[in-house]
Structures are given as C-alpha cells and as structure tokens.
Amino acid sequence: MAQYTFQDFKKGQPRWCPGCGDHFFLNSLHKAMAEIGVAPCDTAVISGIGCSSRLPHYMATYGMNTIHGRAAAIATGCKVANPRLTVWQVSGDGDGLAIGGNHFIHANRRNIDLNMILLNNRIYGLTKGQYSPTSPRGFVSKSSPYGTVEDPFRPAELCFGARGHFFARAVATDAPGTIEILKAAYEHKGSSVCEILQNCVIFNNGTHDSVYSKEGRARNAIYVKHGEPLIFGENNEYGLVQEGFGLKIVEIGKDGVTRDDILIHDAHCEDNTLQLKLALMGDGDGFPVALGVIRDVEAPTYNDAVEAQIEEIKAKKPYHSFAELLETNDIWEVK
C-alpha cells in the first residue's frame, strides 16, 4: 500500500470561524486517513448541509457536499454501487439527527460499511443559533428564547436503538483520541458512528467545556479501551463497577476496592446494555464522559451481503445477459 501523509488529503483553506471545533477535527481526519493509507482516489467523503458539512471541500479525495439531511442516504447508494470505495459520511447534529434522523437510523440498521461522523455542537450554527435535537431541555436560543420544552436525542442511544454495531466518541480538540476512533471506525466493517464533541465558539460556546481541555478530560472523562479496566481520574484513582442494574463509581484502595474489582470494558459484547450505560454517562450525573470505542461488534454488512447474493444468484440462475433474460419468458413466434 502506498504511503501517504496528511498533506495528500488536504485541500483549500477552511472557512469555519476561528476556534471552531471543526478545524481540529479536520486536521485529525487528514492524519487518520494518512495513517489508514487508502488512496485519496478510492476515498469518498459525503456530507449534508451545515457548518461541518463544508468539510468535503477541504479534502483532496472524491466527495460531495450534498443537501440537508441526506448524506447517509447518498453515502448508502455510493457504497452499495461501488463497494470498493471507502466512504466517510460527515454530518452535524442537525443534519444527521433532525432532518436526517431517518437515514441515520436506517444506515445503522442495515449496517452499511460507512464511517459516519457526527460533529455534535448541540446547535444550528449555519442558520445562526437555533437549538438542535441534541440541545438539552431548557436550552435558550434564538428559536427558544424561553428555553426548549423538549428532551434531546442522545446519539449513542439512537445508534444502539437502531441496532448499530459501532459507536465511539472523541473530543474535537483531542487529536490522538480522535485519530484513534477514526482508525477504529475504518477498521470496523459496517456502519460506524463517531460522535465528535465539538464546540461552536459563536452560538454555543462552552457546551463541552468539562472535557474540552486536556485537564478537563483528566478530571471529567474516562478513556475506554476494549479489554482494559474502566479506570479514570487525574491519578487513575477511580473505577467503574457494576451495581444492581447500574454502574457505580468506586475509589481504588478505599473500602477494600482493588484494581481487580473494576469492570473490564468489553466493546465486542453483542449485548449493548453496559455499553449504553457507558455511553450515556456524564450528563450531569456525576459520572465521567466516556471517550474512545464504546461498542465495536462484528456483524455482516449490507454491502457485502448484496454482493454475495448477486454472486450466489449468478451461479444459480441460467441467464447472465439481457438476451438470455428475454429467453426466460413465454415466447411465441409469428411466421
């Protein structure tokens, strides 16, 4: 495989606001693609509409910046028609989960081999500041001056509810964490959702403050890794254990708790119960925000199954051209 650098994937001058989380993510994506090593000409980056959906314009790959909400559907056709391509689908929270919610769940359900990036800043930026389907209840915005009266989607919950097999999360400013999950998403065969916590400096500044800095993550996040204990804290002093139907934070070395008591992360577990609990942590509940690959379960992909079925039927059916197809009908001859 040819060797690439991030420069090979870079194009143009991004036009996002200075300080926008999309800049950070874009850099990480370039680097991840270079490390993955798929040629730019075999890569397609497909977005919808929104600030983050401008991203394909800054890629030296094939790509489309399409219409609002339809990126997952368009990416689906692209991948199924040309499975040789590595397809990345990029959406914001409005594009992906509001107008595009239906396509998001069905892409996950079908398990099409798409790397689906969800840049979540919990706001509509391009239209200048309306609440999004991930804005918290009571959120004040231009379209909700007295606060919203609706609950948000939690992307992991939606992904799992749609029978998604891969869910990972990173903070836009955390380059190593982002690159790691992007590579894992590429490696995963099937639809993989990467939620990127990304700050909008203009309309929703500070929405991910608790984990946006390295120090913040040290205090308020937990990096989950398959096969490793769920330990976190500035000095790795805390861990997660199961208690009843839920999770509990324990302090290692206190009340007789040892490292061996800590729950080991299993991203490959088919049952998503505990993975969902991890993914939902950190919503003001005293738990840390889970970062990294939370769920990564192998399953047959739609595009592989489509190809396999075509091969199977080709072997079974006696006709392989239009002329032969005609002959399968009831034919009569007029002399």
């Binding site: 314009h57 790959t61 689906t76 040309n82 769940i105 489509v306 080709k314």
Partner: protein, 615 residues
C-alpha cells in the same frame, strides 16, 4: 345444430374476463391473448384490479377484471366496451356488465348464482338477468363449477385445486367461440407448469372440456367467430406489461453502457412492479435497494450515480414530491439519473390504483431554482422499453437527471412485444473525462455539446468535490459570484436544450386535416384509435403525439401552427396545453380534459372531436 353454425369474420373483438380476485382471470386473459398473438393477431390488454387489498369472496368490491383486445389489424387500446363478458360470479356480472357492448355475449357460471351469491352481489330478486335487463338469449349460462368438478373427478386433486381450474373452463369456451387453436394454449400451460406437469394436464383437460361444451351445445349463440390476421410482422414475441418493459429497458441500457444498474426505490402503487422486476435479476448484477423512504430512494441513487452506476429511482406522483429535492441535487451536480414516475390519480394519496397524467407540470417545474430537466413519456406498454432505454441514454450521455413518465394504464396494460436485439439499439457513451485532461481538469469543464465530464471515483488524478452549492464555472469551487451564477444557470439550461430529440411525427391526414389531435404519453392508443375511426368515417384528421416533452422536438411550432383546429387531449386539466402555449407563440388550442382515473374511451373522444370540427 352444429351444422347450422355460422363462422363470422371479425376485424376485432374485446373479451373481458371477470371474477373474484382469486379466480385467475388474468391468467385466462393472458393465455387467450397469447393464443391470439401467436396466430398473428394484434393484442392489447388491461387489468382492472379492485382497490381493496383483500375483499371478501363474492363481494362487489372483490371483483377483478382483465380485458383483452384482439384485432386482425393493429389495435391501439384494450377497447372501450367488450363483445364477450365472462362473469364467474354474480358480483362480477353486477359490476362488470357496464363494460359490455349492447348485444355482447355473456358467459356466466350458474353455480355461482345461488341465493347467497346473489345476496353478496346485492341483487334484490332471484333473477339477476331480468333485474339487470339482460336478454337471456345473449347469455351462455352453464354450470361451470359442476362441470369442472366432473371433469377432474378421479384426478386425485383436492377440492380447492379443482376449483382453481374454473378459469380454464371459461377460457376453453372463449377459445371455442373464437375458433382458437387449443394446441397453443396447451403448449403455453405445459411450459408454464413445467415443474408441475399434473397441474398443466388438469388445466388442459378443463380447457378442452370448456371448448367441447361450447362445441356440443353452443346454446344461445348463433355464430362462432374468426379473426383473421392481416398485418403480420414475423418474429418472436412475448406478452409484456409496461412496468416490466420499463425494467427491461433499464437492464438493456445498463448492459449497453457497460454499467452496473442501481435502483433506489420505495414501494408505491402503481410503480412497485418495477422494483419487483428488477429485484429478480441479480444474475445480471442488478442492485436494488428498498430504501427507508422516497427521499432516500432518490438520494441513494444520486450517490450510486456519483459512484459510477446507471442509477434509477422509481415512484409515482406522491413520491416525486419527496424526491424533488434530490432530483434537484442531481441537476446542479450534473449527474446522470433516471426518475421513473408511474403516474396515478392525485393530489396527495388521490386514486392510488387509477391512471392520470397530472404530474407533467410537477416534473417540469416542481423544484426550487432554475432546474431544467428532460422529460419523456412512454406511449404504450411495449414502448416503455424503448422509452426507458432512451431516458437512460440521455441521462448518461448528457449528465442530467431525466424524468420518464408512464402511468397506471400503460404500466399495468400489456401488449405483444417483439423481442428486441440489443445490437440494433444505439450505443450509450457517457462523457467520461479523457485521461489527457489529468492535471488540468475541473469538475465543470464541458464537452462541445455543453455536457460536463464524468470522473468516476477510483480514477487517480481526478479527485473532486461536487455539491448542492453553486460552483465556479472554471475552478469548480463554491462561488456566490453573481455573474458566475447567471452563467452556470444558462449553461445548465443550454445543456438540456442541446439534447437532440426526434421530430414530432404527424399521423393521418397530415396535409389537409381539419383537426389535429395532440396528446402525450399513455393516451396514444386511444387518440390514435379515435383518429382512425374518424378517418374511416371520411373525416380529415391528423394527430401528433409527444414522447419528448422537454426539450420539445424542433418542429413543434411548425406542426402545432399548421392546422385550422388543434385539440390537446389529456388526462389532466390542461397541463400539456399550458406547456405548449408557453413554448409556442400564438398557439391557442382547444382542450379536451378528463380526470376520471380511467382510460379515455374512444367513442367519447370521437364524439367530442366531431363536435369540435362541426361547430
């Protein structure tokens, strides 16, 4: 008595088979039309399904009909009214009698006219014929069920399977009535049930019994008939519905272009059969994705097109409403896409199983911005094949979405389809970006005819980004420059205007017609039949029928402005007329509009057109 029977020659005949949805009327009709087509008669068929999904047996809403029109000369429609009505039960007689000509022969199964059957069919008295004012002399009343049971007694078949053969008895009777050669029907059945020879033989036995019954008794019919063949076009044929022909057209175009065929679709009446048909042919590499909605059906096709496939999305009017967004994306990205609209009655859910031509203005104009799109309309079930092929060719060679209009009537109707040879069809050559442009190429560089080049992902050195935002003509980067937008808008329009389409053909009395009949798409057969009938009566009439609606044929204005009177006849409130008036200065046609969800009737058209001439 048999000796006194007269054989009468007929030019054409219409037979309507009707019964419960499960009575196998379509199969009986299909065999009858195939038998007739095999001897070289011209055929046209149309099924009339009930709107209910599964109405109770014997009920009025559960009746389905299948009409077959057979002619010594070419026939253009399934016929207005029938010469022979087969009514397998009381409900069928009640609902279908209105489709019978005065004096038509009526075949009924007296076993299905018991008190319960009459009650279900809402007859008030025990004498349904009298109640409906039907002359009993015209009725071939036979205890059909009893005779089928007798015929298959000792065959070892269960009662249910025996009853399934009733349609074949009726078919046998009809074959006798029209002096048809049963061997052709036998061969048809032996092939159809090749894997179940016992079923084939049972059916054959019953057809023969029906035929013999007619021959031995021919109660109440004075004649048997013969339809000679006058216009034989030798060749190999199959019976094909419009939807199947459309699917075949796409398959043929993909093969000719050397591309994968991709269909993104969502089930919708009356277009779903195209999805069904294409889903069968995986051995040809056809990929169909049944999407989560109409939007995704079209959007995924746009994605497939970008990825290098011949991309098609199929739907009906309500689906076009939802697809228009992604259709527009294909307009600005200049990617090939075929959008099939099998029109049905609207607005909204409207009349899902019925036929209209009410989507024309929607597909021409129903998108935001300046959004030019080629529009074609298939004129008959068999023409759907050529139309789908041509729509695909235009889309691929001119890098544009193309709308192909058919309608429920054309889609469900069938005709004898002369097997096409792919080598007789023109090549399909998409404008792939030439390798020598590597390093210089930008996405909106155009070939001489104004068409953008196609760079399919996978080609090194041609990586590019397309999108829904306006792009710079030269660089392909996002641009809001006013001059550039104006230029791009004009280039997109010019590209469509440059598409070569054949001239409008004038049929009939092209030099001295008093009236020019104008239509488009699926009404061709009825308008043609009306014209022929008027000419046979000595009227000077011509007709011009549009297959290409955007761009219009170059000679459109010349044709439309040549005749003293022009009538645009269409199954909407005047959409083609409005389009033509917009495009042809000084064109002021008469209009004939019907929005009934039913095909035109030739007799009504003739009556109206004669009034137009004489008033």
């Amino acid at each position: 008595m048999a000796d006194s029977l007269e054989v009468k020659e007929l030019e054409q005949v219409v037979v309507r088979f009707s019964g419960d949805s499960g009575d196998g009327m379509q199969l009986a009709g299909n065999i009858f039309s195939t038998v007739s087509a095999t001897v070289g008669n011209s055929i046209s068929t149309f099924p009339d399904y009930p709107a209910d999904i599964r109405a109770p047996q014997g009920s009025l809403t559960g009746v389905s009909g299948f009409q077959v029109h057979i002619g010594a000369n070419p026939v253009f429609t399934p016929g207005d009214l029938c010469d022979v009505l087969v009514a397998m039960n009381a409900a069928a007689l009640k609902t279908q009698y209105k489709f019978a000509k005065p004096g038509a022969a009526i075949i009924i199964d007296t076993d299905s006219f018991g008190p319960k059957d009459l009650e279900k069919a809402a007859f008030q008295t025990a004498d349904p014929l009298k109640e409906m004012g039907i002359d009993p002399d015209r009725v071939i009343a036979c205890p059909l069920t009893t005779m089928v049971k007798d015929c298959l007694a000792g065959s070892g078949m269960d009662a249910k399977s025996v009853l399934k053969c009733r349609n074949m008895f009726a078919l046998g009777l009809v074959c006798w009535l029209f002096s048809r050669d049963l061997d052709i029907a036998f061969n048809f059945l032996r092939e159809k049930f090749a894997k179940k020879p016992e079923v084939a033989e049972a059916n054959i036995k019953v057809i023969q019994a029906g035929y013999d019954y007619g021959h031995n008794t021919h109660s109440s019919v004075a004649n048997v008939y013969r339809i000679e063949t006058k216009h034989k076009v030798p060749g190999r044929y199959m019976d094909i519905t419009g939807n199947k022909a459309t699917a075949y057209g796409f398959i043929a175009a993909a093969e000719k272009a050397g591309l994968k065929l991709y269909l993104g679709s969502y089930p919708i009446t009356p277009a779903t059969d195209v999805l069904h048909e294409l889903s069968k042919h995986k051995s040809l590499g056809v990929t169909t994705v049944q999407c989560e909605d109409e939007i995704a059906g079209c959007a995924s096709s746009v994605g497939a097109s970008f990825a290098g496939a011949l991309a098609v999305t199929s739907t009906s009017g309500p689906g076009i409403c939802l697809k228009s967004e992604a259709m527009n994306l294909a307009v600005i990205m200049e990617l090939p896409l075929v959008v099939l609209d099998v029109q049905r009655g609207g607005p909204a859910t409207g009349l899902p199983t019925k036929s209209e031509q009410t989507d024309l203005l929607q597909v021409l104009f129903g998108r935001n911005g300046e959004s030019p799109m080629p529009v074609m309309a298939a004129i008959s079930p068999t023409d759907c094949f050529d139309a789908a092929y041509e729509a695909s060719k235009i889309a691929l060679e001119h890098m544009t979405p193309v709308v192909l209009l058919t309608d429920a009537f054309v889609a469900n109707g069938s005709g004898a389809f002369k097997l096409p040879r792919l080598e007789d069809y023109p090549d399909i050559r998409p404008p792939y970006v030439p390798e020598e442009l590597k390093g210089k190429w930008t996405p909106y560089m155009r070939a001489k005819n104004g068409t953008r080049y196609w760079a399919v992902p996978g080609r090194e050195g041609f990586e590019h980004i397309l999108g829904g935002l306006e792009k710079d003509d030269k660089t392909g980067a996002i641009s809001t420059n006013p001059e550039n937008h104006d230029l791009m808008t004009r280039k997109r329009a010019q590209k469509i205007a440059n598409i070569p389409v054949p001239d409008l053909e004038v049929l009939g009395d092209k030099d001295d017609a008093e009236l020019l009949i104008v239509g488009f798409g699926g009404t061709y057969g009825h308008l043609r039949a009306a014209m022929e009938e008027m000419r046979a009566e000595g009227r000077k009439v011509a007709m011009a029928h549009f297959r290409y609606i955007n761009p219009l044929p170059k000679n459109t204005a010349d044709v439309l402005l040549k005749y003293p009177k022009v009538v645009v006849a269409e199954q909407n409130m005047g959409q083609l007329a409005a389009w033509l008036r917009m495009k042809v200065d000084g064109f002021v046609p008469c209009q004939y509009n019907e929005v009934k969800g039913q095909p035109f009737t030739v007799s009504t058209l003739v009556q109206h057109f004669i009034e137009l001439i004489t008033k």
